[in-house]
Symmetry: C2
């Protein structure tokens, strides 16, 4: 093994995202490096470290990076996992295989949660480590990592593509580091109707049902219960209530 | 739009996993279909429905399916999303774009949780719907789905590869349908040491530290506090405790 030399420190920004290295060990297919670059960038990460890739990322990798070529351009290539991990405090090795190991495995989500706690220290650098497409990580590589994580998977077909594994772990880490808040609002979604708006609509509906002789007020069965339930599920907008009220006014004219 | 015709019902097994359709609309690259087939199979799903794929899945798709060719072989090809959704009760459309929609979006995790509730009914069929690589889902396609889901992503680079999106949604749905239980045990991981084992080890360690004059019993500082803390973090196994006890016995001989 080479003497560890420091992977260059995180760029000026010291956000949690910038302190995460995504380390790919001995990747065989350049396309997977490109796909992994795209995957990690979609989750807000930027630092890719390649340990002895079979090929340097070139054409095919660039095509599959699809807009994440900056990640490829800035990728660091090193000779050993020790070099890739220099300066980190917490390294999680991803693997689908069960092996003799110093530590019990965690599921991906718990491993991400634990890593997010480490990242709470603004000086902490961490790494997510992924193995070769067919051989995975060697026992020696695994032994350099402080944690071992597994992605819950189909026990009969558990081998994820390496870029997919990068996507999932980066997704879990993104959520663990920063809860996403409310989903973006639908741009022109209307205001949800108030309780009173909906009550007035239901009263109007009942009136029209009786006027049209659809509903026998002496034997209403469960008509209003069902209508009320459907309205609750629909979470009607104020404007929709106004439309329905207009429709009810139009159809009740002949009965007035 | 074609008259909806029923997509063939789920195979004999009626597990929740068998009642989920993964629907890819107008996929351009056969490689993505293969990667998606692999992705969904790793998460325990099996039913792929292709709406007007640009190419039928052939060589490149098969290569990237990597062992999920059964999923490709059984994939159903239909002419419209309506056909793909026939018989479903709950369809979630995945999209990165914000648009005018009938419903507010959910995050992927919440959408999966809601879908898992629907799957609690053993007759319910559901669908996860993914759009074309560049154009996504059309507004008409979106309007056929009862829910709209987004994957939390880097706001400056939010476009996941379609197979990656399939991987993530299937992962979330797998976890929502069936919590994975404890991670698999390390095959020859030993039994964790008992409290008493660890206490005896610490006592022995203290004794050797005093015997060797490393530790001044009149001025112990925080030696034992630190050793106790390290032992707690290490979660030592019974066999490791025995090894340390043996080592302590060996090194204390000269002082006896």
């Amino acid at each position: 093994m080479n003497t560890p030399i420091a992977v260059s420190p995180a760029p000026t920004s010291r956000t949690a995202f910038s302190r995460v290295r995504i380390v790919l060990c001995q990747t065989s297919h350049p396309g997977n490096i490109g796909s992994a670059a795209r995957a990690l960038k979609t989750m807000g990460f930027s630092r890719l470290v390649l340990v002895r890739p079979r090929h340097r990322p070139e054409e095919q990798a660039i095509a599959l990076a699809a807009g994440a070529t900056d990640v490829l351009d800035n990728a660091q290539i090193v000779e050993s996992l020790s070099e890739a991990l220099a300066g980190t405090r917490h390294a999680v090795a991803l693997t689908a295989r069960r092996r003799e190991l110093a530590v019990a495995p965690l599921w991906a989500r718990e491993a991400a949660g634990e890593m997010a706690l480490t990242l709470g220290d603004p000086d902490a650098e961490v790494a997510l480590v992924f193995g070769n497409e067919s051989a995975g990580l060697s026992n020696e590589e695994l032994s350099l990592c402080s944690r071992w994580a597994m992605i819950p998977a189909n026990p009969e077909f558990s081998s994820l593509n390496v870029a997919s594994a990068v996507q999932l772990m980066c997704y879990e880490l993104r959520l663990a580091v920063a809860a996403p808040g409310a989903p973006p609002a639908v741009p022109d979604a209307g205001e949800i109707a108030t309780h009173e708006d909906v009550e007035r609509l239901l009263a109007h509906l009942q009136q029209v049902a009786v006027e049209s002789e659809f509903l026998d007020p002496a034997n209403p069965k469960r008509f209003m219960v069902r209508m009320r339930r459907a309205a609750a599920r629909a979470r009607l907008e104020r404007e929709e209530v106004a439309i329905f009220r207009g429709l009810l006014s139009a159809v009740e004219k002949p009965f007035k």
